[in-house]
Symmetry: C2
Subunit: 399 residues, 2 copies
């Protein structure tokens, strides 16, 4: 008996324990595919919500709307309505979308959640989004391809300066383990509300690096993704604080402490991995707050990095912040310039809320005669841009 | 201007880009906490769905109901109704729950999804669940504690026998990297529909191992979590198949191929990690299909493992499966017995659909005089049981 029906009984039991949807698949009810990326790069969303009055999708591809806030008017994603079909399934098909990774949520009668037919999700601060990739140039770069893959490790390091052990995510390139070679290192820093999971998940770092290396566009390198919030030992859910609600308002953010204790990170990597330890073999880059960190770390330790990347970077510390880190901004920047470097790379979106501070900073660099490479993109303070910046920056390193 | 309001502008921009919920937190609307584990171990769920007619929670703690299927009657989780409060927020408080990790979904007007106020989730096959932990004996063992942490790596290995490179998850214990010691290895296998992410996510392996090692209950060991579906190179979303819908009906499942090619896994680990390579330093265990794999691998290579763990294991192959692997079941089992071993451990839930086949298998072992340790628990074919089995099994290894 068991023998004959083992597979069926297995499936039945597992599905029944866990998944009403999967039951449908097993017993003939309709299996819903959502999202479905169509051949023409339109995307169809389908939701089974027979009792709902309205079903909407909202994402970085749905029509924008304006929202007024105490900090000014912002453009945010607005919802698009799904329509109920004769079969009771709601659906919506987007316009043809440019190749990229997209995020969205589903709203049923005002209840906003993830798409139950899509198991692929990304967390950003306290929100979780369903995701999909539209193939093409960017989408392919952000996808797992049949190429050699690096190793991704979550590892803890001692941070005496922060009086804790802290978690980091480390990408080692394909072949690292079976080589005797030493590798250069890119330190890649996240933004406010992010953590050591941000770049590897939302940023698709391992896919981008695997693909760039396989294409011969990037030098094989180690990528170190730290947690830039010194109040945290690890990402939400990964520390002894348990499954707490993620919070952007952390203490000791952008007060100099991360920069002060950053040498602990370098020391850990250089004593635990087979890496080259010259300035020519170290790069640092980050997005938003991580760009701020990269700027200040690279000038405070002005002979440490030959490559610096500022992605949608904040420039100045908040008013009232007192830290030796920020006291001699101009002097250390000048020292960094005088010591020399190979690349100072700045990326910024045209509608970024930090655009103006970027203009001011570049004027400062121009007035000093400090050379940089500048890339301006459409859009604002988004992962869409940050993945592009990483994809542009990484191939220029360690050449 | 930027300087003064940088932090606020940062937060505003990031929140506006991504999160309606978080906006509420910033501008004074109610911030919803869900789930809230109360001091008496009841758990309160809260949902903002002002336009909904019904809101329900369904999980492994809500009242059970019976469901008839072509394979017999099964007991499944039934929904519990949330009630709408004067503030428009729906809520439900469970009974006091025993310490454990729990999974649930939210159903709004028949639309079943995850809890938008809870960023912590686990995927199982094609379903995603919100999760929480009730503290206490089990909950604490499954939580990240302030103890030394091992490293968790996702790494690819060559599998010539399957003509692909394949992904595995490897836990190395605290101190591995800075020791010269060699470590024993536990190969830990998932069930049908699972993959190399199953044990590390749903199984809480790294938390359990970190805690058991810190308490002095388990010997520091490497835990290797492979993908037991030879048709897959990696978990859904982690291979070149992209973000496909996960599927339980994979080809070449339980047809001998995984067992045949398992020596590739051992070889990879033993040539890439600082491990002890004696039989006394190898353990293999798995749940359900992974228990089946552990049974057959350990008898087919009958002098390889001193420790075997069968968690809710399937025993016999499906009818019609032709593989040398299963041809001399009794002979190889006898050889395994004659060669000797230190622990043959069997765990089974009283209401498991595989219970009867477990009874038959133990009768076979009894008739052969093959010794084993047996643990019978309440409940059935569940991760609740598999985490318990790992927590019981691991401390008995390599002593």
């Amino acid at each position: 008996m068991m023998k004959k029906n083992l597979l069926a009984a297995f499936i039945a039991a597992v599905l029944l324990s866990f998944s009403a949807e999967a039951q449908q698949a097993l017993w003939g009810a309709q299996q819903i595919i959502s999202p479905q990326v169509n051949a023409d790069n339109t995307v169809t969303f389908r939701i089974d919500a027979v009792n709902a009055d309205t079903v909407q999708v909202v994402g970085d591809f749905t029509p924008k709307k304006k929202m007024k806030t105490p900090f000014g008017e912002f453009e945010v994603a607005g919802p698009a309505n799904l329509e109920k079909g004769a079969d009771g399934i709601w659906s919506y098909t987007s316009e043809a979308l440019p190749s990229d990774l997209y995020t969205y949520n589903i709203i049923v009668d005002g209840f906003k959640s993830t798409d139950p037919n899509n198991v692929y999700m990304i967390r950003d601060v306290s929100s979780v989004f369903s995701i999909f990739i539209v193939p093409g140039d960017k989408g392919n770069l952000y996808s797992v391809k049949d190429v050699p893959h690096g190793t991704v490790a979550r590892r803890w390091y001692d941070s005496p300066g922060n009086e804790m052990t802290r978690r980091m995510t480390i990408y080692t390139p394909p072949g690292y383990e079976n080589s005797k070679e030493s590798y250069p290192v890119l330190y890649l820093l996240h933004g406010m509300g992010g953590d050591e999971e941000a770049w590897i998940n939302y940023g698709r770092t391992s896919q981008i690096m695997d693909n760039l290396i396989a294409q011969g566009k990037a030098t094989p390198m180690i990528v170190v993704m730290t947690n830039g919030n010194v109040a945290q030992s690890a990402a939400p859910g990964e520390s002894s604080l348990g499954f707490e609600k993620p919070n952007m308002m952390l203490p000791h953010t952008m007060d100099g402490k991360f920069e002060e204790t950053f040498p602990e990170v370098i020391k850990f990597i250089e004593s635990n991995y087979r890496v080259k330890t010259d300035k020519a073999d170290r790069a640092i880059a980050g997005l938003s707050m991580g760009g701020f960190h990269s700027l200040h770390i690279s000038r405070y330790y002005p002979n440490t990095f030959d490559y610096v990347g500022l992605f949608s970077a904040a420039i100045l510390p908040n008013e009232g912040v007192k830290s030796a880190l920020y006291e001699d901004f101009d002097g250390t920047l000048k020292a960094q310039m005088d010591n020399g470097y190979k690349l100072y790379w700045i990326g910024m979106g045209k509608s970024d809320f930090l655009y103006k501070s970027g203009v001011d900073f570049r004027a400062k660099l121009d007035s000093m005669g400090m050379k940089y490479t500048y890339m301006e993109t459409e859009g604002g303070h988004t992962w869409t841009n940050w993945r592009v910046y990483l994809s542009e920056f990484a191939p220029q390193l360690f050449k």
